[in-house]
């Protein structure tokens, strides 16, 4: 933790030493950098963490600047003080932040980029046209802050203080379950849903925060400019904010901070190039995307360039399961009755019945295309069956609604592991406990006690889960550096974080060595003995017959046979259709 903080401390020390220079021009530049960072800090959560490409964020700066200026200038009502005006500007920004963000909740990336761009154009047009209020092309004076913020250095100290608070607060969010959820939405939306992460809610929360910060920054910007016209809010500025995040690197706070400082200083250092600045920004964007997609943050991350030990061993430890999952009460049964699902004319599942009891391993086998994964997807809610019912105990399991499965204790893994490559293994696993968080967004923002307790508990659980699957040694490693087999065990650890009542495993043994399969089998068996019902889709017949208590065989979407492994092994049709021999 100390090691991660020194760059921030160094920057702050430099910023605190700047007034010694006595150069007011430098005060202006540094104040501008601080104001830009207040906006970028919020935008970073949207672009760098949630992966939503908001390229027109200058619109919110404009809204904040004009709201604050109009209220202090009194063109619509009696003038009010600068600070209330800044507050109202932040509220307006939060509101419009959500409005601009709405398309991101349902639409694909490019659409969202486009709508933010369209919004930016419109806001500028309105400031030009609404002359009675905004002064049109002539402009309007910005809010004048009271003493001691009315001097260049006074304003500098104030903006610096706000910037420090913003850094701290957005870092708190970034390192909370909210930050992890945003990254999960960015990189693996499917797994995020299965972990019970509510994408619209998460995005709306950060849109509110980022919008408020951007508009507050806008108010300060107007104050710094002392007089604003629509010309001050060019698309170039929007580009600066956006590229600052990307230069900095996704999923980092320090990177975008350095990016913001760099881009603010660049036109000052290279004054003759001022006319070319947008061109340079664009060229920089292209270079980053093509050459260093990780940005500054990836360049600074030396630890993850060290070689990992070879011949690593995955050694699951069943003893960690007891403190992690605990023992369940009376076992329940998940029952599927007459499930039917067709894709076009093909009946992928055609009247499947299935009973998975807690405390047992239930194998689901069958040839390719027999409907095994489709059955898992129906249980997980990714597909809505056309007919049939699902229940857990006495309660019905509603069809569809994948994000509600975690709350019902259903966890799963995938045929191709779904992971957040840029996050550490520990953080990946902590995603699984998202719904167990108790702290609200505001509590996490301010790092209040409940947030701290949540984090401590989730971290401890994640370490237990990693011990249980045998990946403790790799906890701090970036997940995309793991081998395929390790990723499979990591997914199981993530699923265990839910203390699942039912665990759905989709071909967990695919790509594992013989020795690893043996350990996987023992792990699955111990998980079921903690009272979890395991539904195992697998092609390795040995594994199935070794560890399963019940086996269901599917063929062409129908149940071909169901029973104990011993019964299935001698079932005539199963042998001829699937097992061979």
């Amino acid at each position: 933790m100390v090691r991660a903080l020194w760059p921030f401390a160094l920057l702050l020390a430099l910023a605190a030493l700047l007034p010694l220079s006595g150069n007011e021009y430098w005060a202006l530049i540094a104040t501008r950098a601080a104001i830009y960072w207040i906006l970028v800090a919020g935008l970073n959560l949207i672009v760098g963490y949630a992966g939503q490409l908001a390229i027109g964020y200058v619109a919110l700066l404009t809204i904040g600047a004009y709201t604050a200026s109009v209220l202090t200038a009194g063109t619509v009502m009696a003038p009010i003080g600068a600070f209330p005006a800044l507050g109202i500007a932040a509220v307006a920004g939060a509101f419009f932040g959500v409005i601009v963000g709405l398309p991101a909740l349902r639409l694909r990336t490019f659409y969202f980029a486009m709508t933010t761009l369209g919004f930016a154009t419109i806001v500028t047009q309105i400031t030009l046209a609404w002359q009675d209020v905004t002064g049109g092309g002539i402009g309007i004076p910005g809010p004048a802050l009271p003493a001691p913020m009315d001097t260049a250095w006074g304003l500098y100290w104030f903006c610096l203080a706000v910037a420090v608070v913003c850094t701290w607060a957005t870092a708190n969010i970034a390192h909370s379950r909210f930050g992890r959820a945003l990254v999960a939405i960015r990189d693996t939306e499917v797994a995020a849903e299965a972990a019970g992460i509510d994408k619209p809610r998460m995005l709306v929360l950060v849109f509110i925060l980022a919008g408020a910060l951007a508009a507050f920054a806008g108010g300060l910007f107007a104050s710094l400019q002392t007089y604003i016209t629509p010309d001050a809010f060019t698309f170039e500025l929007s580009l600066l904010f956006f590229i600052a995040v990307l230069i900095g690197g996704r999923g980092s706070i320090l990177g975008p901070l350095l990016g913001t400082i760099l881009l603010t200083l660049l036109p000052e250092i290279a004054a003759p190039l001022a006319a070319w600045s947008t061109f340079l920004y664009a060229a920089l964007l292209l270079v980053i995307v093509l050459a260093i997609p990780g940005g500054i943050a990836a360049l600074l991350d030396r630890r993850n360039r060290l070689a990992l030990p070879e011949n690593r061993d995955i050694r699951p430890d069943a003893a960690a399961l007891e403190p992690l999952i605990g023992q369940r009460g009376a076992p329940e049964t998940m029952a599927l009755r007459g499930i039917v699902l067709a894709f076009g004319g093909v009946r992928a599942i055609d009247g499947v019945d299935l009973d998975v009891r807690q405390g047992e391993v239930h194998g689901l086998i069958g040839p390719n295309g027999s409907g095994k994964t489709t059955t898992l997807n129906v249980i997980s809610g990714y597909y809505k069956p056309e007919a049939g019912s699902m229940t857990i105990g006495a309660a019905a399991l509603p069809p569809g609604a994948p994000e509600g499965r975690a709350a019902r204790g259903i966890a799963r893994t995938y045929q191709t592991p779904r992971l957040i490559g840029e996050a550490s293994v520990l953080q990946n696993v902590m995603i699984g406990a998202s719904i167990s968080g108790t702290a609200t967004f505001v509590e996490s923002l301010l790092s209040l006690p409940r947030h701290m307790a949540d984090e401590r508990r989730m971290k401890a659980q994640a370490r237990l889960a990693l011990a249980a699957v045998g990946l403790s040694a790799l906890a701090e490693v970036r997940a995309d550096r793991l081998q395929h087999s390790e990723l499979r065990f990591m997914e199981i650890a993530r699923a265990l974080m839910l203390k699942p009542g039912f665990l759905l495993l989709d071909e967990p043994a695919a790509g594992l060595s013989v020795e690893e399969i043996k350990r996987l089998g023992a792990l699955i068996k111990s998980v079921s003995r903690q009272g979890t019902g395991v539904l195992l889709v697998e092609h390795h017949a040995d594994l199935i017959f070794d560890i399963c208590d019940q086996v269901t065989v599917l063929n062409l979407g129908k149940v071909l046979a169901a029973g104990t492994p011993a019964e299935i092994r001698v079932h005539k049709e199963v042998v001829s259709a699937y097992l061979g021999g």
Partner: protein
């Protein structure tokens, strides 16, 4: 007033539809929505003005040169901004790379051409009032493009190969179709279509560097409403958008017409994310 609304609405609608087709042509072979679509339209106007007014060339020569230049630019886009990021389509890096190229084009134009709108000459000296050529030329260009594309897609081997790639990239490659060359060809085609939009609409939009983002947005709306890759949807959406925008322009004024368009766009997309004529999203798991 109704006649003016219809004339100008159809004209700008045709330009938007053509930009929409530009988006679709690039999308069909690469699954990439490129920010360069609007810039190609902008360049159609700028190059036209450059060749005819500054260099004094006759309009057919200028048209050919403009289309060729933009087709080349399309190919450059494919090499610089599309091919390198195709591997990781799901990370949406293409949004950033094509945005960067679009901004490079736009700023180079601003610096080397002019930051003020420049005149675009009359081509045929035909018509006046609402029958002025500046209104029917874009419509004509749109009709020619649609007929041309339909012929290409239905009656030529290359065109069918385009359709095959658009339908199922993997299967097309397995059949031995030269996917990479077809993609380059489609970017060249898109460049020419975008340039044609700007050239035909030059008298309406003038040769102005800031037309790029404008056309980007208004050309994207028909695509979004019509469904990605759906040219018929783009044409219908483009014409409707043009008429709606001009009607709002004449009745409530320019600023509020863009607010109206934007609001309508968001509402429609929130209700029908796949567009009016698009198919629902494919399976994800």
């Amino acid at each position: 007033m109704l006649a003016s609304i219809l004339a100008s609405g159809l004209a700008v609608g045709a330009v938007y539809a053509l930009i929409g087709i530009t988006y679709n042509t690039m999308y069909s072979t690469s699954r990439v929505m490129s920010f360069t679509a609007g810039q190609l339209g902008m360049l159609g106007g700028v190059f036209g003005s450059l060749f005819m007014l500054r260099l004094g060339l006759p309009w057919p020569v200028a048209l050919v040169l403009t289309l060729t230049a933009c087709a080349l630019l399309g190919v450059v886009t494919e090499f610089v901004a599309v091919r390198p990021v195709l591997k990781s389509l799901d990370q949406h890096l293409y949004v950033l790379s094509t945005l960067a190229v679009a901004l490079l084009i736009q700023n180079l134009t601003a610096l080397q051409w002019s930051t003020e709108p420049q005149p675009f000459p009359r081509l045929l000296e035909m018509g006046s009032g609402i029958w002025d050529e500046k209104y029917w030329l874009p419509v004509g260009a749109c009709v020619v493009t649609i007929v041309g594309l339909e012929y290409l897609y239905r009656h030529t081997l290359v065109g069918r190969a385009f359709v095959a790639i658009a339908e199922d990239n993997f299967a097309a490659r397995a059949l031995g179709l030269p996917e990479r060359n077809l993609r380059i060809a489609s970017y060249a085609l898109a460049g020419a279509v975008g340039a044609l939009a700007g050239f035909a609409g030059g008298q309406l939009l003038l040769a102005f560097f800031a037309n790029g983002p404008l056309l980007n947005f208004y050309g994207f709306i028909p695509v979004a409403l019509g469904g990605l890759g759906n040219n018929r949807g783009a044409v219908i959406g483009g014409i409707l958008l043009g008429l709606f925008q001009q009607a709002a322009n004449f009745t409530v004024g320019g600023i509020f017409s863009s607010v109206a368009v934007f609001t309508l766009f968001i509402i429609v997309l929130l209700l029908r994310p796949q567009g009016m004529f698009g198919a629902p999203v494919a399976r994800r798991v």
